[in-house]
Symmetry: C2
Subunit: 142 residues, 2 copies
DNA sequence: ATAGTTGTAATAAGACAAATTACAACAAAC
DNA sequence: GTTTGTTGTAATTTGTCTTATTACAACTAT
């Protein structure tokens, strides 16, 4: 199992906005063209990124812009903007309460799963859009 | 998105074996009863745990036993025994190669995604069955 | 008013998890 | 050597979630 592509797509969206929104109008169709993802999916993500106060998009007119400096936007922020905050690992639904293991498995694993999730997101929180754009610009200039 | 319940189920399986296999024959039906998971699912997992050399099960006779000391089995081992080693985060399939962002998004995120995955599994590798059984036995005695 | 865009609902297609049914292969016990 | 209980394995089904798609109302500058 793995996460959906929402984080990669949302990051792509924000990089396109960061790179081009000062010169051109970055519409959902422009982004759809760059990502090769359906425009409706893009628009739904733009809505979520708006809810998270990461971008602002102009209904009617069209075009999106960042509302924060690039170094204040982390990949953890982006993740939580577009994905649900579910537990990382699922449990089986109905372990047998009459078995000592079944009765305690949830308690045993819960905090350990949470901890594994936390260190991963801590790692994502260290990555800012700033860093990504800096590295991207270097790659483009070559 | 989240992982399947395979890790939780496999850990449950191994704890049942660790707890009871010295006294009783732990068959797939016994485990199915404790987990409330279909016996065929359990048997498939037992096969994978055998492939990973974590347990041994007796075809025909029935019953499974651990082949390693409890402190040599980590939750990372268990995960890789029963789940595929996929990337943690997916990418969108066909970013536009004519766009500077689309052309570089994969390169930008790949190592960062891998790193986030790595720290999570490092955390899982610190959890041994030993620790889980110790904590379980404390809970049972209460 | 028009044109281009966003916001939103509804539906469909594809992938995958988990359950289920069925049965062959196997090994001990009688 | 047949019976019994179990594992190994295939095939099918159900449900859930992701992504794509169609369609259109709402919005805003020109």
């Amino acid at each position: 199992m793995q996460f959906s592509s929402k984080l990669a797509i949302a990051t792509h969206i924000l990089l396109v906005i960061a790179e081009f929104s000062e010169k051109e109008k970055v519409t959902s169709d422009v982004i759809a063209g760059s990502t090769n993802v359906n425009p409706v999916i893009i628009r739904n993500m733009l809505l979520k990124l708006q809810d998270a106060k990461i971008i602002q998009t102009k209904a009617g007119v069209g075009g999106s812009e960042l509302t924060k400096p690039l170094n204040k936007i982390t990949m953890r922020d982006i993740f939580y903007a577009v994905e649900e905050d579910k537990d990382l690992f699922k449990f089986h639904a109905n372990p047998n309460e009459d078995c000592p293991v079944g009765r305690n498995i949830h308690k045993l694993l819960d905090k350990r799963f949470d901890n594994a999730k936390e260190v991963m997101f801590d790692e994502l929180s260290k990555i800012t859009l700033d860093q990504l754009k800096f590295e991207l610009d270097k790659l483009i200039k070559k």
